[in-house]
Symmetry: D2
Subunit: 334 residues, 4 copies
Amino acid sequence: MPEPELGPLAAIIKPVVVSTCTTDVHLIQTMAMPTLKGKVIGHEMVGIVHEVGRDVKDFKPGDRVTAASVPPNWRSLEAQEGLSKFNTQGFYYSKDPRKGGVFAELCHVTDADMNLAHIPESVTWEQALILTDMATTAFTGIDQLNLKTGDTVVILGIGPVGLMGVCGALMKGAGRVFGVGSRQVCFDVGKKYGVTDCINYKDGNIVDQILSKNGKPVDAVFVTGGSSSSIADGMRMVKYGGTVSNVACFFEDATTVIPSDVWNHGGLDKYVKGVKAVGGRAYMERLLSLVQYGRLKPELLVTHTFHGMEKIEDAIKMMADRDPTVIKPIIYFD
Amino acid sequence: MPEPELGPLAAIIKPVVVSTCTTDVHLIQTMAMPTLKGKVIGHEMVGIVHEVGRDVKDFKPGDRVTAASVPPNWRSLEAQEGLSKFNTQGFYYSKDPRKGGVFAELCHVTDADMNLAHIPESVTWEQALILTDMATTAFTGIDQLNLKTGDTVVILGIGPVGLMGVCGALMKGAGRVFGVGSRQVCFDVGKKYGVTDCINYKDGNIVDQILSKNGKPVDAVFVTGGSSSSIADGMRMVKYGGTVSNVACFFEDATTVIPSDVWNHGGLDKYVKGVKAVGGRAYMERLLSLVQYGRLKPELLVTHTFHGMEKIEDAIKMMADRDPTVIKPIIYFD
Amino acid sequence: MPEPELGPLAAIIKPVVVSTCTTDVHLIQTMAMPTLKGKVIGHEMVGIVHEVGRDVKDFKPGDRVTAASVPPNWRSLEAQEGLSKFNTQGFYYSKDPRKGGVFAELCHVTDADMNLAHIPESVTWEQALILTDMATTAFTGIDQLNLKTGDTVVILGIGPVGLMGVCGALMKGAGRVFGVGSRQVCFDVGKKYGVTDCINYKDGNIVDQILSKNGKPVDAVFVTGGSSSSIADGMRMVKYGGTVSNVACFFEDATTVIPSDVWNHGGLDKYVKGVKAVGGRAYMERLLSLVQYGRLKPELLVTHTFHGMEKIEDAIKMMADRDPTVIKPIIYFD
Amino acid sequence: MPEPELGPLAAIIKPVVVSTCTTDVHLIQTMAMPTLKGKVIGHEMVGIVHEVGRDVKDFKPGDRVTAASVPPNWRSLEAQEGLSKFNTQGFYYSKDPRKGGVFAELCHVTDADMNLAHIPESVTWEQALILTDMATTAFTGIDQLNLKTGDTVVILGIGPVGLMGVCGALMKGAGRVFGVGSRQVCFDVGKKYGVTDCINYKDGNIVDQILSKNGKPVDAVFVTGGSSSSIADGMRMVKYGGTVSNVACFFEDATTVIPSDVWNHGGLDKYVKGVKAVGGRAYMERLLSLVQYGRLKPELLVTHTFHGMEKIEDAIKMMADRDPTVIKPIIYFD
């Protein structure tokens, strides 16, 4: 890759640790994103500032930093309206061939003062790394549920995003939390984070399992995986006036179908929300403060640690193969 | 029908004017509601208090009153949680055979102090009548759009509910308002209420027409009719972060399908909401005050006025036949 | 006291454990409430159902129950509008001389199905007791802060309500939490609950201490005590756009003064909110579920346990004397 | 004044019409703002783009434009958090001596693409001018009231901001609207905008007048003038759970006092909010669309039209003298 050119507001970061994501697997398998052609992928990274543009004020070479996986473009009308996440300058989103993903020796952040965040001394590299995508995605999705104190929540898919969703739900006042999955490693971390009821989808229909255990519909459902029928499943278990919020992308069976019986032919209050993650420096500083003050322990997600950039391929293969022992693999570059 | 028995909190109302609703047409055609068997239908009524139960405090025989079309059960946990509309004691919802619809000489309201509302002297019978279902339904649906000042809104279906939706949208700060329909009578009233752009679905694909006229996606879509594909149409025209709120019931083609391309495989923020109308005395008093202080002119919806209870059949037939001149027919009982 | 008469919806409860409150101290010292004359006081109680009225459906003699300290009147327009707490039927609020406080062998709850809540088997008497007033008051006040994930919060007064406020703030996503007080016993429990910075007001001006430690204004302030100048103190430490929410009643120096310099002569966004506690069965069930699922440990507030109704006086004296070892005394009746 | 230097993102505007504001009167009388020394004042302007910086994309010389009276700094963490109005680059706020107010032949806007807005062809100069400060201030204040459909609202002070507040309240669903003032010219425009009850403070205590006419407390109060006791007056008339939102700056008697009896010693829900106006291109485009689509007629505020920059002094004098015929004077520069 050519070394990225530096704009006056930009910074070049030297990644120290990166992680692989199911989105990486999808991107490789589907080649869905045209701007990505000929570039490296990767969007989860923490690192050290290598160089900063002329007008950057708050960061300097040597600083320990992180950035959300999809940095917004803050010079947009969307940003003025609280919708910054819909106008982004994500790593490999750029049409500029020199701006690519983070699986590289150096990567480019277009607007350093607005999209980088300093990692506090007491926060480790791997804690900060998990925040970049797993926590931003999960917390944005949980926010859309508008939880009330004591709500019963279903996390439909307790992989890494779902597990951060458990933490996010408790930080919005959830009481009972159902976690749906199948892998023991996820159930174990889920219980540590506060899942009260582990539901294995291999044990039978999840709607029946949950309604039977809860005795009544639940207050909210957070969908992080499964298939697009997960949304109809969510609607079947949620109460009237409840929300199903979804952060999963369904590539194989992408059409979402809401059968008439779960929605009374369209005319009853159940809310369906697809959700994209928030980014930006202010939001990352908020998440980092949660770790700094002991509210969040993201490091429990790290099940595998590799060393050397060449191990990225192993990590991606591990996720593509759905290795039963993996939640999140991370790769140190040295 | 047997004369309904009076509980201590109930009232018997003598309807003065009633109106027919597309829901009546659906109920007759589909016989969908089991509790309705052997009862009269009808849920839109204004009238005079005939008799009140022992413990009723605020109403007495002779009072001019109205009630929302689906009175809530205020002795419920749903009511405590702001979800009263999900636990109702609607006219013909009761299992009690003596409690039926409002197309009768006398009808029964279970909880008078909590579900009736006095009609102020300056508000006419027909103004109050339109509020019971058309305004409650429309305003509840518009509320779910969380409009911001200056938002561009599409009203997908400007029949009587959609037209009240136009008024509701302006009372939440809407700027440009697209009204989708085909009948001239609706376009005419729509313009009086504040529609800026009339879109005839017979002139071509409505998504194309609207996106082309607006130059960019709209901020919010309110669906009151069409088919269940209206929801996908709404999602195609709404911006990221925008909401499609639906109050229509789709009986023929009830399954709602959200194609992957309008929702990026599930993973982008567009919100879909089905919405049921709010009821209760406090809400009806709010709507009546809008008429009293000149903010709302619901009487423009009344296109046909009948006299005599036996004319209800004519009014229902007029709606079933989709008479091009009708918005809302009303029937005076004397 | 005469034994209270039973209405059709009411219940008579036999208190098992009660607690005393600073409000009790104020009521005795000021005799502020006219309806209280000739009655016993007390509003924090858990107990056993002794008798129920004819129309009570969900409770029967022998049930373990609790009720919020100020039960709302659910047959009110305020209740329909989400403002139930402003139309109450609190224990000694009634003009009926037979309906008094809970420091009695039997007490009266006017609307059992709507204001009592079953205590789950896994929740202890004392856990449930703390919820009735300390948690309802604290959580209602914290709700008014509209906290965002990672917010820095000041709890101005970490007595029993303030300590529940710490728990409430974490359940809304707080990061750093300052706790202001002076007694070691409160600091100790505060740290267990999640206070990150204990501020002793005897160590100097609290505004200076907090601004200096935090390096910038805080996001929100919850006032539970001090004097009415606490509100101006809160405004001095909160950021623009931040909220000061107050649940304390200031009896001695009741006038609240907002100096012009902290509010730029009236024209800048800082929000001041006085807050009264929410009640009702649905809300109590929510709080009980927090204890049941391990999210809240209210029992840490109980520093002193008495046995025998005659010990209520000792408990009240302990609070009036500001005993440095007391957070919350409770009194078992047997 | 020296001609302002142009940054890459800035624009130089040639004002066409300006208006004077009571803030101008205050600034002259109090000399309150240090950055203003040696500069011209003025912050309400519409004009023609004279020159744009190298990186400005959406504006070019000759464009008809407007800007909110206090343009935010969009490169700030406040902007990321939806609090852009607390980090501004207002006309004469700058420490740069060449960046001054708008009462000049040329004025400087620091970030053209983010803070200017195109005036649509169908919107007149004077309509757009009124939006810059009167509408932004009023609508921001009304937003803070969180009005519900049919709410009764008091506008405490129906000068130009209060009159825009009447329009803003109707666009949030207000029913009855009380307008408090004394000048006939304001009452006349107020009635055209939708005031239902004109209250003259010379006719007696305004709290008594309003409570007596309304029969119960009102839902919300918007304070735009009077003295700092206006806030206590507002609290005396508002219901429990209601909000008093203030946009006035009280210079003479700036201390705000909330007497204990109106707030039950601090412990009851009444909310007090000071409010600063929102700015920015997206918000101005929203307001302009309200005029474009016929929702708002700001031109009714213009009572006096001057020609020639030298007439600014006359306009300011007219406001300082509290001329009874003036609502808003405007000054064309040619």
